[in-house]
Symmetry: C2
Subunit: 317 residues, 2 copies
């Protein structure tokens, strides 16, 4: 019988059991996916690099989960239901077999949580850092996907969950912020993608907050040629973040990695968004609105003064 | 107005013009793809690492083209029509702006040749090697995709094009083989994916030859629990390869990077395969057959003796 190559053994051992319908046991040239009539495909890709997006010392299971969740968050932002993913791994010699066992354990947990599975991918060696690239597929009813363009003057700007904890977690990992409970670090490592929030056909625009609230609100400004005014007092921060010195505010607003949704919605629909979110136990907060009076992101404090931040947002590039 | 980040400038400058319908100008969280009723989606991903799959000194346009063509070859092997692709780039500081301009020029040429376009992706920095990961999407009529399983005893084994030139090109680049014309190197850098060969519904099995003829025939053996007998005399080698010493034969059969199709087909359908291939100007050659008499890949020389090779195939892992 023909011997299996090292790559096949690696795939067999770690990834075969993650594969779902259409993946052909990860043994073929490609996977086959059925898209229901009336749906369209939504597809997105993100790469994560050791030392840039995660630390070599991060628990491997959370690295797998974070990679998946960042991509799930893109699906959530389009109002799409995730279906499956492809994964390419460029593996350097210093990443052990045990590392991949735990990495896959994280993927397995999240596959169950989010009802998705592995469709295919590629593994290769590298002499550089570990590089992981994930492409996610999802579906949305034809014509109902939520894009970044389509906001109208007077639309309310809402955000899910809590902003800033992740950025503080990164600071804690960099030893720039002291924390004893690990709360922020956990929030940094395990974002909560808002998969399932049914914004398709309800919101005018949406996107996920990955580069920091201010920078990402700026993307909405550019895409819609409308200004965004945000009231600082309304931004949802955690109790833990509020207990810190106000010097950390800029980090919270520009640090990124939140993976919450920014949603632009007509005032007449926001009640429905609130009701749905309440039923799903996903917090949503109105933090501002779209305006034609300016074409920037204005953060207004409770005295009505505009606040300025030196750093506009996080970049992995 | 909100300032564009470095990543957005990089995408705008190099990649925006490669984006097609559904890519939303590469400005959104995901792309949207319509799949015609009656078709199913076929999806595959491959990564290429600097120093592993390509040399830093390779012309950047051919790096882009090879990445795309390896993936196109996977579509061809499934009998699928390619549609578009997503690309993630992990960029180290030593790769220049000019490198990416040429890289994109190669992608642009092949997008025209193969009628596909860019759908999305991600760019990130790395301190390691340049890592490129590409996910390709295509479609095939529901139920007609060609997989690796499904061969029957007595099926003929056919191969497109020419085997071995690419592996010799790699040897030339490694200065292990002297060549003055650059023929082999060009064959290594620019494979010819057999996109459009309509094997869907015609062949029993197919796969592309990426790891070497012997190793890939072995994949068919394992997938089908049938042996494969290949007649050495029938394997299509180029005139240039035939003019070399017979010491290079093993390289040709195990070196990989051919990106030709291995096709298992009923004898009653092989005439039709020949006719179609002839019309499309794609050479096809019957090199062997599937048998229940053994469960391995047997290469038989013209005296009828089985040949043994020490190296079974190429691995990038």
């Amino acid at each position: 019988m023909v011997e299996l190559s090292k790559e096949f053994v690696f795939i067999e051992k770690n990834f075969r059991s993650l594969a779902g319908e259409g993946a052909l046991g990860l043994k073929d040239d490609a996977a086959i996916v059925k898209i229901s009539a009336g749906d369209e495909l939504v597809v997105s890709a993100d790469a994560m690099v050791e030392g840039v997006h995660f630390f070599s010392s991060d628990p491997p299971d959370t690295v797998g989960q974070k990679l998946l969740r960042c991509n799930l968050s893109d699906m959530a932002a389009m109002g799409a239901t995730p279906l499956g993913y492809l994964l390419t791994i460029s593996r350097p010699p210093h990443i052990s077999e045990e590392w991949f066992e735990l990495f896959c354990e994280g993927l397995r947990r999240d596959q169950e949580t989010y009802k998705i599975f592995l469709l295919g991918g590629d593994t290769t060696r590298t002499e550089g850092n570990l590089v992981l690239s994930l492409t996610i597929l999802g579906t949305v009813t034809q014509g109902l996907s939520v894009k970044r363009t389509g906001a109208q003057e007077g639309d309310e700007l809402w955000v899910t969950g809590i902003i800033g904890d992740s950025a503080l977690g990164l600071k804690a990992l960099l030893n720039e912020l002291e924390e004893s409970t690990g709360y922020f670090v956990n929030r940094y490592r395990l974002p909560q993608p808002r998969v399932g929030l049914p914004i398709a056909g309800l919101a005018h625009v949406a996107m996920d907050v990955s580069d920091g609230l201010i920078q990402d609100a700026g993307h909405l400004v550019r895409a819609n040629q409308l200004g965004v005014t945000i009231e600082l007092e309304k931004i949802p921060f955690s109790q833990q973040a509020r207990s810190l010195s106000s010097a950390w505010l800029e980090t919270c607003l520009t640090g990124g990695d939140d993976y919450e949704l920014l949603i632009g919605i007509s005032p007449k629909n926001s009640k429905q968004l609130q009701e749905i979110s309440h039923r799903m136990n996903i917090p949503v907060t109105q933090i501002g609105f779209f305006t034609a009076k300016h074409t920037s992101v204005k953060i207004i404090n409770k005295e009505g003064h505009e606040m300025k931040f030196s750093n506009q947002g996080w970049s992995h590039f």
